[in-house]
């Protein structure tokens, strides 16, 4: 049975919504939703949360994850003190200190994508396992055409990915990458000479949220509420079948 760990990189403060990863959605911090999605996926043995913020680490432990200390010079991507590769090394060293067995697969789960379901993670994992030539798998969300930008020269709207003579069905597709991935750890071994192939898994609108600002709160709460309603309906149906 393959060993799989999940890592969640969760900072405390940030430039946008303050302490976003601890923001309560339907009574639970965003971080807790992310951890639970990983634990409920069924194939993840352990979840690690890497953070510089002690409140975040406490919340992680409470939710069933293993906290890892993040040095403060490894919080900002482009601060010039450490590279993302060095971040990865720091995480892996700390994980090895906690476990005796290295992982075969690693799930990287970004808290912002808290709507990506455990079932989706599971399907992605199965796809990756079935393809021994693939290095990793990423979820992508389809984006409708008809975008625009504000022309910096005139300050008026400038169409982008927008061919008015094409319908939505005939327009070339655009996709957005989300911050979730599952990787095959053996590809990272120095003796591996294989070519790295990436697989993609298309997710729906209800999973593609990138939770960033206050504007995203209602959207997230709507889809989380819908899932709770659906689960309650399923439970009620199976209860009523049982009582018959």
């Amino acid at each position: 049975m393959a060993e799989t760990f999940a890592t969640i990189i969760a900072r405390g403060g940030g430039p946008g919504l303050y302490k976003k990863n601890l923001y309560p959605l339907l009574g639970k911090p965003v971080l807790q939703h992310a951890i639970e999605n990983c634990l409920q996926a069924g194939f993840i043995n352990k979840v690690f949360v890497w953070s510089e913020d002690h409140e975040v680490l406490e919340a992680a432990e409470k939710a069933g994850a293993c906290p890892l200390e993040r040095p403060k010079h490894m919080v900002h991507y482009f601060n010039g003190f450490a590279t993302p590769d060095q971040w990865g090394e720091n995480i892996s060293k700390q994980i090895m200190a906690h476990t005796s067995v290295p992982d075969d697969y690693r799930v990287s789960y970004n808290c912002n994508n808290l709507l990506v379901r455990p079932e989706t993670l599971s399907k992605m994992y199965e796809k990756l396992v079935k393809d021994p030539g693939a290095f990793n798998i990423l979820p992508v969300k389809k984006i409708r055409p008809g975008l625009c930008m504000i022309n910096p020269m005139t300050s008026y709207l400038f169409p982008f990915w927008n061919a008015p003579y094409l319908s939505e069905n005939t327009h070339p597709d655009l996709y957005r990458l989300t911050g979730v991935s599952i990787s095959r750890m053996s590809f990272k071994l120095p003796e591996w000479n294989g070519k790295k192939k990436t697989l993609y898994h298309v997710i729906g609108r209800d999973e593609g949220l990138d939770f960033q600002t206050e504007d995203d709160i209602l959207f997230a709460e709507y889809y989380l509420t819908r899932r709770t309603r659906k689960n309650r309906r399923k439970l009620n149906e199976s209860d009523s079948r049982g009582s018959r």
Partner: protein
């Protein structure tokens, strides 16, 4: 003295079993939300509902608006005032002129957007008239960056609007236009009419096109009303 008008177009071909102009949201038909929001715009002189739907034509409950029948030949032609195609928009404006619903400034409203509030609509109007050149202001809301297309040759993603070297806050913003706005009719018939965007929240920009989005609107409205 300028005349400011508004139109809401309801075509039978656009209606479906899951969503129609009379689908109920918070105890009111969708179209009533749109009209009630429009009535609160202080600068608006007249609201028109243009339709080929017989049930809507017979409605007596929608007060403060003039309901006009769209001629049959026009129902097969799109009055699209959101289009990038200037000719398409001008065609639409000429048709509205023929129906005698077009003022010097004209709001094109959308019965599928019940959460677009009167203050936002009024601000679009002021944005339009305070700009010396803009012919149209439409609502826009930000979309996330990191956009890719699939390359057929190697089935991998090709960056279209993404910069792996930049924080997402530093990626130039992209927007989605919503099918709602206001037009300066004289300027739009001029040379190279410019379209300006007015940023709205994704809540206000919600377009109801199926049962799920109607359910979402109900949820959003409940949250907005409980905050008030």
């Amino acid at each position: 003295m300028i005349q400011v008008t508004a139109s809401v177009i309801v075509l039978s071909a656009d209606l479906s079993d899951s969503v129609s102009w009379d689908s109920i949201l918070d105890r009111k038909p969708l179209i009533q939300h749109c009209i009630d929001n429009a009535k609160k715009i202080p600068v608006l002189d007249q609201i028109y509902v243009l339709t080929d739907n017989e049930t809507l034509l017979r409605q007596k409950g929608i007060s403060g608006v003039q309901i006009k029948k769209i001629p049959e030949w026009l129902t097969n032609h799109n009055i699209d005032l959101i289009s990038k195609d200037v000719w398409q928009v001008n065609y639409g404006l000429e048709r509205l002129q023929e129906l005698s619903v077009l003022g010097e400034v004209h709001f094109f409203l959308n019965w599928r957007m019940p959460l677009a509030g009167p203050i936002t609509l009024e601000k679009m109007y002021h944005n339009l008239l305070e700009d010396r050149l803009a012919a149209r202001v439409t609502g826009i809301y930000p979309v996330d960056p990191n956009l890719f297309m699939f390359q057929n040759c190697n089935e991998s993603l090709f960056p279209v609007w993404a910069d792996p070297g930049a924080d997402r806050q530093r990626v130039p913003q992209l927007y989605r236009q919503i099918p709602l706005g206001v037009i300066h009719t004289r300027r739009h018939k001029g040379i190279c009419p410019e379209s300006k965007g007015y940023v709205v929240t994704s809540t206000e920009g919600l377009v109801i096109h199926d049962a799920e989005s109607l359910d979402m609107a109900e949820f959003y409205l409940e949250a907005i009303l409980s905050d008030q």
